[in-house]
């Protein structure tokens, strides 16, 4: 086997989050019913004309700026001409020679820079479905849905790099709130193109493209299969042909699609029905100011400011609203480190159970902050805090109320005294050491008492009585 270098470039189609389609007023909302979000314009009926939905421009610009792109002050639409049943007009309106932006980059964790060649906007096509009787059915709900296409240079050398790039890209567009970027519903589609060459050869090999990859796992597998396929061909002395491979999720295989059409076959030319997009410095400046702190920056800052490790910070910063919730809930907290686990373990469990995002929780960050303050001020221990959180998450009540209710117990103060004496008996050694001056053991004893009383008394009360007994003894 020879030594091969792998080069991968990635084209990503991302649905831009707008209410209506890019060239008509139809809704972009996803629905299972076919052909309901359609009109004469997106169906390409004779005589209809596109008009640009200007909502898409600031959203695409935001992305371009976040990806460090150069913005073209003048960009324009073009027609990409080809025949396919899911293409209503016989051409797709896209951008060709004058994309919205170009020459950006994303930096991977390793510090490696992935160059972004271009970012342009275009309309999606419809969908062709084959039923069991081998009929071809067409659904045009997606036709005219606004997309951004982001194309990288062939800078990746492994599938891991590709996945990291796509995860970062997905996180960025979600942070910017320009796309929901869910892969399953087709809002975020990555298409790698792959070429391999022998190490000693300087030029890039012939590339092939993989389509129909609907998850990160599929992308990983697709790339692995294709690299293996190309290696086998080259090792066997065969040539790689420029083809588009189709990934089959069920069979877990790749099979070649039609021969990749050469670029002149698309017969691109400027779209005469749409004027150029001219951007003022003013608008670009305005949009720049709406860009929030980007995920990479936030991860680093959280590590620094809250003393989180890399993994913790990555988890907390995965979604912007989650990170924001975190930051608000730890306002004024001295020992943040102790509480981060709530965001690594407890909160994800709650969100997963309830299948919701933080903004849909029955409690807000202020209530969580109140809870954290109790821990921070050592009024309650972590154990109790976890239980209270569970209760807030189903009732939405303020932690004070829950705490109060918990301590309204049927036990009397005498019962508490007895329980404490019992605890002290069980921990004679520690009591001895405390009396000999090891002050910090007081906390330990409080903890033991709380456990014994099953959190039915407030820490303050336990404190008070414990101290009384210890001084008397």
């Amino acid at each position: 086997m020879s030594n091969f270098v792998v080069n991968i470039g990635v084209e990503t189609h991302i649905q831009i989050k707008t209410k209506s389609k890019i060239f008509c007023d139809c809704s972009t909302e996803f629905t299972d019913k076919p052909n309901v979000n359609v009109c004469p314009i997106c169906m390409g009926l004779p005589g209809t004309m596109p008009t640009l939905n200007f909502e898409v421009i600031p959203l695409a610009l935001k992305t371009a700026i976040a990806l460090n792109c150069i913005i073209n002050r003048i960009s324009g639409f073009a027609r990409k001409n080809y025949f396919y049943p899911d293409l209503p007009k016989g051409y797709q309106i896209t951008q060709h020679k004058f994309p919205l932006a170009h020459s950006g980059y994303i930096i991977l964790k390793s510090g490696k820079k992935i160059r972004i060649r271009r970012l342009h906007i275009e309309e999606d096509t419809g969908k062709m479905i084959h039923d069991q009787d081998e009929n071809s059915l067409l659904d045009f709900n997606r036709a005219g849905v606004p997309l951004m296409e982001i194309v990288t240079e062939p800078d990746f050398n492994s599938k891991e790099e590709v996945i990291e790039y796509l995860e970062r890209l997905q996180r960025i567009v979600r942070y910017l709130d320009v796309s929901s970027a869910n892969m399953e519903s087709g809002e975020f589609r990555g298409e790698p193109n792959i070429s391999i060459r022998k190490k000693e050869e300087g030029l890039l090999g012939v590339k092939t493209e993989i389509k129909n990859l609907n998850s990160f796992k599929a992308i990983e597998k697709g790339i692995t299969f294709e690299i293996e396929r190309q290696k086998m061909l080259l090792d066997g002395g065969q040539k790689i042909e420029s083809v588009t491979m189709l990934y089959d999720e069920k069979k877990q295989t790749l099979k070649p699609m039609r021969k990749k059409e050469s670029i002149s076959d698309y017969r691109y030319f400027p779209e005469p029905d749409l004027p150029d997009i001219i951007l003022s410095e003013d608008l670009i400046e305005k949009i720049k100011n709406t860009i929030p702190e980007l995920p990479e920056k936030k991860v680093e800052r959280f590590k620094r400011e809250y003393n989180l490790n890399d993994e913790e910070s990555e988890i907390i910063c995965q979604y912007k609203d989650y990170a924001d919730f975190f930051e608000k809930s730890i306002l004024g907290i001295k020992n943040v480190k102790r509480l981060t686990n709530f965001y690594i373990r407890e909160m994800p469990v709650i969100l997963k159970e309830k299948r919701m995002g933080v903004k849909d929780l029955p409690f807000d960050s202020d209530k969580l902050n109140a809870l954290f303050k109790m821990v921070d001020e050592e009024k309650i221990n972590l154990n109790l805090a976890q239980n209270i959180l569970k209760e807030i998450s189903s009732t939405g009540e303020h932690p004070d109320i829950i705490l109060k209710r918990a301590f309204e117990s049927d036990l009397s103060e005498d019962d508490l005294k007895n329980l404490i004496i019992q605890v002290l008996d069980e921990n004679k050694k520690e009591v001895e050491r405390y009396k000999n001056g090891e002050e910090k053991l007081f906390g330990f004893l409080v903890g033991q008492c709380m456990k014994k009383t099953k959190n039915r008394f407030s820490p303050g009360k336990v404190n008070e009585i414990l101290r009384n007994i210890l001084t008397k003894k």
Binding site: P46, T48, M49, T51, N81, F83, G90, Y91
Partner: protein, 462 residues
């Protein structure tokens, strides 16, 4: 009859819109010009009835109330067939209204029917229509011109008071000239193209055919302006001024000598009316023909790609694979001239990453520039509308090169985005000959006002 006197006749109860319709439909039947592909009698009588009510009440009378008009069959009218003169769309019923139709309906005008035309507006004699040749109202053995031949014939034969057509390289002005009527192509971007089936999107303009320039202006004011559906609309209003200086040519290649004589005579009539005539040289006609052909063919090849037999129009679903189905539908659905242009356009676009198309745009800029320079010294440019007299059916159709020459005096106005209007100048052997006035870009209002005055002044002399 003109718009004003027809409206007056309704107001003074000399006749009703319904009676008017009766007369028109009878005349259409009697004349047998084949100028309509479809007569929208149900629609028309319904509209006429509503119009009548308004005239009876003498309240809420609309701008074009009860005025019968027709529309070229490449405009969408909800619920009516829109064939574009093609087999491809012979059964297609539009589910939506074009802006032009919508505005006319709102102004109270009554749609008589949809006019015959060259297939997808490609032709200059109305001989490429799937629905048969239209006959010239002046002599039935002659063509009416094209592609808006049905529209021009209808107005010429009093089958409608005005007709809406489309003009990509002369498709309104040349048939207007052949049928002895007024044909106006505004500056690109004045009237919304929404609902007009695209032939060449960057050159297509909606235009108006009438008996008089005055009527034309009235209809134009109803149609013009932004509709939110056509992003190329830009209806700038010119500074009002009198147009005095007219540029004319002393020599013209390939022109019929009788046509040229009428042209020169017309120029001297203008001089007598007090206009200043200045000789100019038009040396970009040949360039304009090259640019025009490349641009229209390229855009047409793309615009007509949607007719693939999938969602509407001619369909053949059984038996074929996908490619076979496309070939069968498009092979059968399109006529010879349309196929010729689609194939040429596809070739031009494939060659060297669209180099031809880009070049055609450079030529357009050049021509527009030359026109702008010309208009520094003149206010109007006058030319024959067509190099030839109306010709007989079958005389030129087999000679595509000759057919293409028929656009040569009109296409440059589309390329330069300037307004132009053809009006009847005279007759030769009882066949009408039109003269074309070209104005400055966005100077449509001044052009129409001047021409309206000229037309009235010259009528007085007759």
């Amino acid at each position: 009859m003109d718009l004003e006197s027809l409206k007056r006749s309704y107001i003074e109860k000399e006749q009703t819109p319904t009676q008017m319709l009766d007369g028109i439909y009878k005349k259409i039947e009697d004349d047998e010009l084949n100028d309509f592909i479809l007569l929208s009698k149900n629609y028309a009588y319904e509209q006429a009835y509503l119009s009548e009510k308004r005239y009876e009440k003498k309240d809420g009378i609309l701008k074009l109330d009860g005025i019968p008009f027709s529309i070229k069959d490449n405009f969408a009218v909800k619920g009516l067939r829109m064939t574009c003169g093609s087999k491809m769309l012979s059964d297609f019923v539009s589910p939506y209204d074009s802006t032009v139709y919508k505005r006319l309906k709102e102004a109270g005008a009554v749609l008589i029917g949809k006019n015959n035309m060259d297939e997808f507006a490609m032709g200059s004699s109305n001989e490429t229509s799937f629905f048969g040749i239209v006959k010239n109202p002046f002599d039935k053995s002659y063509v009416p011109g094209g592609s808006s031949g049905g529209s021009a014939a209808a107005v010429g034969a009093d089958h409608s008071l005005f007709s809406i057509g489309s003009d990509t390289g002369g498709s309104i002005r040349q048939p207007a000239s052949f049928c002895g009527v007024v044909g106006f192509k505004p500056t690109y971007g004045k009237i919304s193209r929404y609902g007009l089936v695209a032939f060449s999107s960057s050159l297509d303009t909606v235009g108006i055919i009438t008996k008089s320039v005055k009527d034309c202006k009235e209809v134009f004011d109803v149609l013009r302006g932004d509709d939110g559906h056509d992003s190329t609309i830009e209806d700038l209003k010119p500074q009002r001024r009198e147009l005095k200086n007219i540029g004319f040519v002393e020599k013209l290649e390939h022109v019929d000598k009788n046509v040229f004589k009428i042209y020169i005579d017309y120029c001297s009539k203008l001089e007598k009316l007090g206009f200043k005539l200045k000789p100019i040289v038009l040396d970009f006609i040949e360039i304009s023909m090259a640019a025009y052909k490349i641009q229209t063919m390229c855009e047409a090849s793309s615009n007509l790609a949607r007719f693939d037999g999938i969602k509407y129009g001619l369909q053949h679903f059984s038996g074929d694979d996908l490619e076979g189905m496309y070939a069968r539908v498009r092979g059968e659905g399109f006529g010879k001239e349309v196929k010729r242009r689609i194939i040429s356009g596809t070739y031009f676009l494939m060659h060297n990453d669209g180099e031809y198309y880009n070049l055609s745009f450079k030529l357009r800029d050049y021509i527009a520039n030359r026109i702008d320079i010309l208009f520094k010294d003149i206010d109007l440019l006058i030319l024959p509308t067509s190099l030839s007299l109306p010709f007989k059916m079958g005389e030129k159709i087999e000679d595509p090169l000759m057919m293409h020459l028929s656009d040569s005096l009109t296409a440059f106005a589309n390329l330069a985005n300037v307004p132009a209007i053809s009006i009847n100048a005279d007759y030769f052997n009882s066949l009408p000959v039109g003269i074309q006035f070209v104005g400055k870009r966005n100077d449509d209002d001044n052009l129409l006002d001047s021409l309206s005055t000229i037309q009235m002044e010259l009528k007085k002399d007759e």
